[in-house]
């Protein structure tokens, strides 16, 4: 009952901003009552869909005989490209992702047909009866192959400032090298899924596990050849997304909607895990080449970089991802003379897509590698070389894309962490340990991050919200953001509770729904709480203003005399409970519902000239990682991690700490154990957690010390001066990679730089150990 009768005497509401409010669905997660798409009660007669996939990397489809499959037990419907009333495409940008292959296949796992049957077993059994004849074509499988053949999904892009080549030519020291960086499977625990329910006329409702309901809506409408208004997408929560559910869920949704409309029956498409890993895109792997000129202090005078990433068979979001890698080629460093060439390679492999960081981590990886190698060459502590090259606060602070870094706090964060982590003392101890330990070697590294916040496609930086107050004073909140575990719904509810000064229990958070808030952007780019928080605040403020005006009129006072207190409003000497004020407002015909809208200010970008301000602000952080490496086996383990991260004024420290920790572990996983491996025919051989090693409980460092930076406050006017948190700390996993490199370097007493490729699997570590030993001998 306490929830129904708010306390109107207290000093502070429960669950306002800056409070450690627990996840809104926590109680449902622990008792199994939180509903994911696969848990929604299935409508009577629902069909289950299985997708027939290409078994070759590149081929013409000579013939398809699906007659036996159609006649198979329980089959209600078979769909191929011929059965799509609208456009055969589910791509986010360029129109190059066919729902079903048309005449040719371009990667192993590409969908060719869908079969819907009474049960998933019957659908799978039927799919086996399809007979497809291919005429195989030469396949391009690797970045190297694509570069040699000039196979790209879009034109190469160049960002340059100053005279990189000239300054490299005149520099005292020069390093020229290359490095490989692997991709990463999102491995959201809840796989791709969509369930469609046919409606009246041309309508269809789709429950989709997606980070981007509006885009799913457009694609379903496009495939069905119906207006957007006929399609409703609803998403209450995801069992993880990590970028993997930004563009590609449109495939599952489109196919399930096509089946639903073709049969008049509800239809569900849930990908089996192995199929999910084969059919859907991953983080882009990169090949990097670099040449850098620097002085005796390690100061970079000129640097030239080549980024070549593997897009896969289609564009998907590759251009924006490769661009973000370029935007992060500087990380926290002032690079007056720089040239970055970026190639987006088209290969006959799955189309790579968004993954937490969206190219940013890859961009940072390269410059951090360069700095590390400079330090090794000069026999300096990499920390010193890093600091030497930092952006200045008031000068030397313009990025290669001509945006002034106005909020630089990396100097302070680095200094604080260097001290709190005891970096110098531990580094000396580690070097001493390594002198006496023959097989086991320790390594340590400290790396920084600066991460640009905003979608670099400027128009995406908009959000909407819808807030209703009912006559009992309870509030319903809806916005365009997606809850995928990151605590977005909790944070936005905190904002609304704060605005109305009511306990958060009075605010009900509801499933994201394209019929409530239209034309939304993906919950991506770490922007969820920044944008949806602001939109919800705007909606709440509109209603609050109406209530303030009403209260002033009722009590014959001026608007300035109306004060919002916890669960009540004071007007002069009178106090009125929020619920009573709402009821009176209703009786006096005051609207208690409003939309809210937010468009991120200040940002603009001219891509052709690589000039502008693509980011509203930057997030900063740093990490120190210590590792232990067995140089006989290559096995390694992270033993201690210290992180100091800036989330501005945290809306919810408990949730933000969880984000920082999870992101670091995911980043470290990317660069150590998570290896994607395709065979020479283009078949992904690591398509389950048995072969693809995600960090487990025992892999996590035993000693992990994570702090949010206490002085943090966003220089820009963001929602309560907080900062985005989703992606930036993932980049800190790079320190684990450099720590391993540092440990390997010890086998030659730090004379040879290990030149480790990523991920640093035990195998690669061992190879690097052998390589450095051999190089030292010669």
């Amino acid at each position: 009952m306490s929830k129904l009768i708010p306390d109107i005497t207290k000093d502070k509401i429960a669950g306002g901003v800056y409070q450690n409010k627990l996840h809104d669905s926590g109680h449902k997660h622990v008792n199994g009552q939180a509903v994911y798409v696969d848990d929604i009660p299935e409508p009577h007669g629902m069909l289950h869909i299985y997708m027939g996939m290409s078994t070759v990397a590149h081929a013409k489809i000579k013939s398809m005989d699906l007659s036996e499959m159609r006649a198979s037990e329980g089959v209600a419907c078979v769909l191929t490209v011929e059965d799509i009333p609208g456009i055969n495409d589910y791509s986010p940008v360029k129109g190059d992702d066919p729902i079903f292959a048309e005449g040719k296949v371009e990667f192993i796992g590409q969908p060719i047909f869908a079969v819907a049957a009474d049960t998933i077993d019957l659908a799978r059994a039927a799919a086996k009866k399809a007979v497809i004849e291919y005429e195989e074509l030469p396949a391009i499988l690797t970045i190297a192959d694509a570069m040699e053949k000039g196979s790209y999904v879009s034109d190469p892009h160049v960002m340059a400032r100053g005279d990189a080549d000239g300054r490299i030519a005149t520099a005292k020291h020069v390093i020229k090298n290359s490095v490989e960086l692997g991709g990463q499977e999102q491995f959201y625990l809840e796989g791709m899924i969509a369930m469609s329910i046919p409606g009246e006329d041309d309508e269809v409702k789709v429950y989709s596990s997606t980070q981007h309901p509006s885009e799913v809506q457009h694609n379903v409408a496009k495939a069905l050849a119906v207006p957007d208004h006929a399609v409703t997408i609803e998403t209450r929560r995801l069992g993880g997304g990590f970028g993997g559910k930004e563009s590609q869920p449109a495939l599952m949704a489109s196919v399930s909607a096509l089946v639903a409309k073709a049969t008049g029956r509800a239809a569900k498409l849930r990908l089996d895990r192995d199929d999910d890993m084969v059919m859907t895109g991953k983080r882009h792997d990169f090949h990097f080449e670099y040449e850098v000129g620097f002085n005796d202090d390690g100061l970079i005078e000129g640097v030239s970089m080549l980024h070549a990433c593997r897009a896969g068979y289609s564009s998907d979001l590759t251009d924006a991802i490769a661009d973000r890698a370029m935007f992060h080629c500087d990380n926290v460093y002032w690079l007056p003379n720089i040239k970055v060439e970026s190639y987006r390679c088209k290969t006959n492999t799955v189309s790579n897509t968004a993954f937490r960081g969206f190219g940013g981590p890859q961009g940072v990886f390269l410059i951090e590698r360069i700095i590390d190698e400079i330090a090794a060459k000069l026999d300096k502590d990499p920390l010193e070389v890093r600091q030497k090259n930092f952006y200045g606060v008031d000068d030397n602070n313009v990025t290669p894309y001509h945006m002034t870094v106005e909020d630089n706090v990396i100097h302070e964060i680095f200094e604080e962490l260097e001290e709190s982590s005891d970096y110098q003392k531990r580094r000396a101890e580690i070097r001493e340990f390594n002198k006496h330990s023959k097989v086991l070697k320790k390594g340590i590294a400290m790396t920084p991050v600066k991460f640009g916040i905003s979608f670099t496609t400027t128009f995406l930086n908009q959000a909407g919200a819808l807030v209703h107050i009912y006559t009992d004073g309870s509030v319903k909140l809806n916005h365009g953001g997606i809850e995928m575990g990151q605590g977005l719904f909790t944070k936005v509810a905190q904002v609304v509770a704060e605005e109305f000064q009511i306990d958060i229990e009075r605010v009900k958070i509801t499933a994201t729904d394209t019929s409530k808030v239209p034309n939304t952007s993906a919950t991506a780019a770490s922007s969820g709480s920044d944008m949806n928080g602001m939109a919800a605040q705007a909606a709440a403020r509109t209603i609050k203003q109406r209530l303030t005006d009403f209260a002033a009129t009722q009590f014959q006072a001026s608007v300035e005399d109306v004060e919002w207190l916890p669960n009540r409003v004071r007007v002069g000497s009178e106090e009125i409970a929020f619920t009573d004020l709402v009821k009176q407002a209703y009786l006096n015909r005051i609207s208690l519902s409003s939309t809210g809208y937010y468009a991120t200010p200040k940002i603009h970008y001219d891509r052709e000239n690589c000039k502008g301000r693509p980011f509203f602000y930057f997030s900063y952080g740093a990490a120190v990682t210590e590792v232990l490496v067995d140089t006989l086996t290559g096995e390694n383990k992270i033993t201690r991690v210290d992180i100091l991260h800036d989330v501005g004024k945290s809306l919810n420290p408990t949730i933000d700490l969880g984000q920082v920790e999870g992101a670091y572990v995911q980043g470290a996983g990317w660069l150590t154990t998570e290896e994607l491996w395709w065979d020479q025919t283009g078949r992904l051989r690591t398509h389950a957690p048995s072969t693809y090693k995600i960090p487990a409980c025992s892999d996590r460092a035993e000693d992990m010390r994570i702090s949010l930076w206490e002085k943090g406050k966003n220089a820009e006017e963001t929602i309560y001066r907080s900062k985005a948190v989703g992606e930036p700390p993932l980049v800190l996993g790079i320190s684990a990679f450099h720590a391993i490199s540092d440990a390997i370097a010890s086998v030659t007493d730090y004379e040879v730089y290990p030149a480790l490729d990523a991920p640093a699997t035990a195998e690669r570590v061992l190879m690097a150990v052998d390589r450095t030993k051999k190089a030292a001998k010669s």
């Binding site: 926590g26 622990v30 625990l189 992990m704």
Partner: protein, 157 residues
């Protein structure tokens, strides 16, 4: 089709299943207990962990017919009415979850760990939870939750 019967969360249930029906399918589709999740389909992620005759088991790696006559507890059977099991409460209070998809399996594994080890240590928890993957957290709060939950279970004895 084969007739089977078992006790699930204290209730006797019966069903007719194909010999190849997985236990998790029986639980989710026949009994409509959807708190037990399917994450990887191949017995590695641990999202589908339940208790069979007092032992934790990955329900996607067992056939329904194998569980004939067993006593099964799923995540839905832990709470005593409105009162959560101490392990559930510990996961909630310690923010030992983010997206929540792995949580039911984690909680079930954690209870089994606590039941079988007199004194749980951090190391035992780390080893014991190796068969449960979480992709969101860095496991810190999960380990904390398990230790807290185990202590609370002991105190309640």
């Amino acid at each position: 089709m084969v007739k089977i019967s078992m006790t699930v969360n204290g209730k006797n249930v019966e069903g007719e299943v194909s010999p190849r029906t997985l236990l998790v399918e029986f639980i989710r589709e026949h009994l409509k207990l959807t708190g037990t999740h399917v994450g990887c389909d191949t017995s590695q992620c641990g999202a589908c962990v339940i208790h069979v005759d007092g032992d934790s088991a990955k329900s996607c790696t067992m056939l329904a017919v194998q569980a004939d006559g067993s006593n099964i507890i799923t995540i839905e059977g832990l709470a005593n009415g409105e009162e959560m099991h101490p392990m559930q409460a510990a996961f909630k209070e310690n923010h030992g979850l983010q997206c929540g998809f792995c949580t039911p399996g984690m909680v079930m594994s954690a209870i089994d760990l606590a039941n079988k080890n007199g004194d749980l240590t951090e190391e035992l928890v780390r080893e014991g939870l190796e068969g449960n993957i979480c992709r969101c957290t860095g496991y810190h709060n999960i380990v904390k939750s398990v230790l807290d939950g185990a202590n609370a279970m002991k105190a309640a004895e």
